[in-house]
Symmetry: C2
């Protein structure tokens, strides 16, 4: 008997499946072809790092358990990390991996025909990273009697409201993020190479705390000096210099659930305009999170932020946050559902979780501050603790 490590109870997985099926009914589809690796993990527990070859989780309305179709190399991993019965893990052979004439999604089509019949209304995730135009063609080409409906972020929306157990895992991810932030701030000093500070950050993100190990993190952004004007740059080999900013956008990962946390560090006496921007951003953040409570909308949160910073002469062109949770590097930790932006009227509900991320980019420098928050019954809970100012190392 294979030893299986499930992070959540079977009841919880059953509930996730039922809520997914309810949405399938609403969307008028009877067989969902889940390809987003985070959605697959959500529904089964799958530790899902083989997503670079085609795979799908088939959720039929009439079936008690989904069927996972993946490359043969993933079978043992699926047996050891999901509740799926062995007969519900179907694998394709190596010959599918390197051939221009056949494709894993064609194999998925054959499994659908055999297990569930050829005449189905398929729900497909047409904008999920990992799902390619060719994969879509190969699937539908072998199921001409079926019809496909783009269900968009159907499972992602189910994921958007967390269970108490998921909130607990995210609190753990927050503790890991907090510890890692401390480690990297300690490491940043004039003369230290940026890569050596990044190395300490990664050590700490994965070592976690004495009680909680970290999983593989999302790639941090960690530019210094003028490169802080760009949103997604990495560290380099250069040593830190006195009188320059470094921004750190990173997160803790516990059981594939991520909690984002960002701060800016200044080595030396920070310029007045940076201090002022940090201050304005913090006030905007406070105004924003004060709007986080059930019944308010995502838009309310964004509007409150912009009102505060605009009054003080600052602008921000991007959304100020998004729903997050399970993540793989394909779409990072972003759930691709609710965004904290004007125009998003999603109503906040308890146990939604948001990365409130305030990147303020100027022509040749930048400032970042972020926290991850959970919506509670009456307001919000911050999933990490610690100082929220610009970090100054004189």
């Amino acid at each position: 008997m294979t030893e299986v490590d499930l992070v959540f109870t079977r009841d919880e997985f059953r509930d996730r499946l039922e809520r997914t099926k309810a949405r399938m009914g609403d969307a008028g589809v009877d067989l969902l072809v889940v390809v987003d690796p985070a959605n697959m993990t959500y529904l089964t527990g799958f530790e899902n790092w083989g997503y670079y070859t085609p795979q799908a989780l088939l959720v039929a309305l009439e079936a008690d358990e989904p069927v996972l179709v993946t490359r043969h190399t993933e079978r043992q991993g699926a047996l050891r990390t999901t509740y799926l019965k062995p007969e519900n893990i179907v694998v394709y052979p190596e010959s599918y991996v390197v051939r221009p004439d056949i494709h894993g999604m064609g194999f998925v089509a054959d499994v659908i025909r055999e297990r569930f019949g050829a005449r189905r209304v398929l729900g497909t995730e047409d904008d999920a990273i990992c799902y390619t135009p060719r994969g879509h063609r190969e699937l539908l080409g072998r199921l001409p009697e079926s019809r496909a409906v783009d269900v968009e972020q159907l499972v992602n929306w189910v994921r958007t409201i967390k269970s108490p157990a998921e909130i607990q895992v995210m609190r753990e991810a927050g503790l890991i993020a907090q510890a890692a932030l401390g480690a990297v701030v300690d490491a940043i000093e004039p003369g230290v190479r940026e890569c050596d500070a990044a190395a300490e950050l990664h050590r700490a993100m994965i070592s976690g705390t004495p009680d909680l190990g970290g999983a593989f993190p999302m790639r941090p952004s960690m530019p210094a000096g003028e490169r802080t004007s760009a949103s997604h740059l990495s560290w380099t080999d250069r040593p830190y210099r006195a009188d320059e900013p470094t921004f750190i956008e990173m997160g803790g990962n516990r059981h594939q659930y991520h909690v984002g946390l960002s701060r800016t560090v200044y080595l030396g006496n920070p310029p007045e305009e940076l201090v002022r921007l940090a201050d304005v951003t913090y006030d905007g953040f406070q105004a924003a999170v004060e709007q986080i409570r059930p019944g308010n909308t995502c838009e309310d949160v964004a509007v409150a932020f912009h009102a505060v910073i605009n009054k003080r002469g600052q602008q921000k062109a991007t959304r100020i946050g998004y729903s997050l949770g399970i993540g793989y590097p394909t779409s990072h930790w972003i759930e691709q559902t609710a965004s904290l932006i004007q125009g998003d009227r999603t109503v906040l509900q308890p146990n939604m979780t948001f990365h409130v991320v305030l990147g303020m980019w100027k022509q040749d420098w930048g400032y970042i501050f972020s926290e991850t928050v959970a919506v509670t019954e009456t307001g919000y809970e911050t999933l990490s603790t610690g100082p929220q100012e610009l970090i100054v190392k004189p």
Copy 2:
């Protein structure tokens, strides 16, 4: 003037573009829509971590320089890491990011129409992770006068033969991989948590050597005990126990070029069958790499491996390697071109690079050994050095 860090010369980028255009001519397309993030980096230098929102690099046969279309947040990063003129970096506003009715690839279509005309033969990468069925529809839907041809791995094939400068960068990645392997082997001891050994591995992968910092690595596989029977599992929080194997598949990343390196560690006195498997695998590896020289095919390498191990009672169902180089986590470090497998008749040429990866998975344990090699004028060069045996820590 923005400070730009290019890893390669402008001449080298020009050569890459010319070789791409030559293949475009052969494929009968006059405008290539590159969406694979590694292909975009290859052609421009772009440090490309915003791939979770739609973007494309447009290569027109008649244009001297490609045009990058991406989200506005990526503009500063593109200015600071590519040779592209500012007017050839076109960005879409935030309103495209969270809207179900408009899409970044629709914006790309509008840029094509405006810059290059609406009547084109488009080359699209229809099986590139990051390119979705919806994105494809949005692109073509706004360019009804154009026609699209799936160019498959056109740019990936250009990437397959490295320049001398790329080989040098990969040698550096090999040094980083070697240092990181030493660090993780040192850390693995009974009683040490798996996550703490993984933390040391990551510290070393990013710290690199005193002369060479590492970039963000591909996620290592690092299971212990029975979990070594699965190909792609991670570390856990559990402490290592005496008398169990750990396998480590990891790599060094230098300037986004990866070199894979894998070893198996046994804590204690290894069982006879593990020692025998390690020995057979090593002999198979030697037989395989002896076939690596210009003029031989990928198949020749695989056949030599299987001949040796089959004679000694072992089987391996998967390819024994693949071409690698620039990588992002979407498709990992795999170039998705040549594979070392029976049936792949790709002829080896100097400066191709392969990850020769020999994962030997049994029912409840496994063994892995890998090296990255470059094809030379007369044979091969291993890009890392160090012992190639099963690593035994008594």
